[in-house]
Amino acid sequence: MIRELMALTKRELLRLARNPQALGTSLLLPILYLLLFGQGFNFGKYASAGVVLGAPTYFSYFAAGMAGFVAVTATLFIGANVIFDRLFGILKRISSTPASSLSIFGSRLLAGMIQPVGLAFLVLGLAIGLPHIGLSGLVVTASIGVLGAVEVLLAIVVLSAMFASLFLAIGFSVEQPQTYFAVVNAINLPVLLTSAALYPWGFMPAWLQSIASYNPVTLAIEVVRINLFAGAASYYPYSSWVYLLGLLGWAAAMILIAALLARRALGPRH
């Protein structure tokens, strides 16, 4: 099973690497948000030091959120590939072999966990480099140790696993690309808007804060913020490990649901 899992994961990653337009599209939305939304709201006192939950500027606060949001936009294609693989007969070929449904699902999940990591760090790097073209940039005020780097990495990987599973669950459940993208689009924006990726906590009404505190994107980016900004931890009620634990719960539930749906979709038809 390990061999088939590795072979199928390699296939997924090769396909992603050979479709740079998919990578570009994954980055497009977070970059547009960085350039338009983040820059636009980074004015007045929000562009001053230490005003936004430990982050030196609103843009810094926001850029950390985009590193989490990229896990959503990048994993979207993992689910879409299921639809296209089914349409092009590739899924039929793979599921006609002795490969288990767990390997087929697991390989896509693994690829979905690996790819967004690089993109998230690319978004962070880009945000840090923006002052070179005269724009506001991400300012990292904390000194990140090995443990901090591991926490940030884990947060993005687990968030990616959660969303890759969600999109795989949709991909294994619907047949047409139009349906898939309609459902995904209906999910993406509410997920972003009900998270703490865009708004500082104090800007949200109480009901939105309640929703945002359980949003997996929030849980991941709080871990990123706590590690990027010195003193930020004092603004949050829990330590980064508690957020990671909550995120793991989300991911485990979603992986289980998606694996069951994949098994049903890949088993013999009735």
Binding site: R11, S95, T97, P98, R269
Partner: protein, 342 residues
Amino acid sequence: MAHAGSAGSIEARALSKTFNGTVHAVREVSFHVPSGEIYGFLGPNGAGKTTTVSMLTAGLEPTAGEASVDGLDVRRQREAVRRRIGIVFQESTADGDLTGRENLELAAALYSVPLAEVRARVDSLLERLQIGEAADRLAKTYSGGMRRRLELAAGIVHSPKILFLDEPTLGLDPQGRAGFWRYVLELRREHEMTVFVTTHYLEEADGMCDRIAIIDHGTIVATGTPGELKDRLGGDIVTVRPTAGSPTLSAVLAAVPGVASVAEQDGSLRLKCSNGEALVPEIVVACQRAGVGLQGVSLKRPSLDEVFLEFTGREFREDEGLSPTDRAVIVNRVRQQMGGRR
């Protein structure tokens, strides 16, 4: 409990598939394919060929009946069945974003081909199927014929005992079809592979298969070697097209010595006779004596077209644009290439 067939064989007993409780795609199909045989499932589109293959390859749950492949129950031993069979689907299933070599390496990994053997097997197949030079090109750049050969290579990379070919030459030109069948026949001869092929090309079934089952509306209507099936027609077929209908013409022609039977079809009369060539002048004279004018008279040696007509009561429907001449060319070309061997 399913009847366990012998090694390398395929067995189906009253195998049925009904979709949504109302669409009877396959109805109580039974057959036995012994090891090493090329068995053709011949029928028009929608006859139930692909549904049968899907059930035999453990991809579709039968509604009723039993089937075994290489002695294994297709319902209860799915994974084991899949390890022993190779499949070439009618549609292209190779991954266009991978190279030909990567496609075969992936197939080898999924079928657990021993790691030490993968490279040699893949290289050998690429060369054998004449895609060696394009091995490191993305499969989406391959021609239709190359993609079909890649599909075949992916289907046999694990040296299966039984190969299922579902309309394998659909969409190929005559040259591509001939090439594809040459490889299949070579592989079958070398590895004593059992081959189960579905097709709606009569000449392919006639020329390549040891035995044929004709399936129509989900039911097998006839089984036998191509020769046996044609022999059942009782000889040649003379088709008489009168200028106007005549109620007595059937009786007149049935009385001609040598005519075995007369049947009406679309305003024409189909006469079965043992020596049609010698009988045509007598048939024309009989029509003249009966005062019936003729639009034409044609003589056909028995072919699977006639066999299909005989057993189903209607013409074989083909929706592919290949002419009978092209199809005959394919069969002859393969036969020549194989030196008359199968």
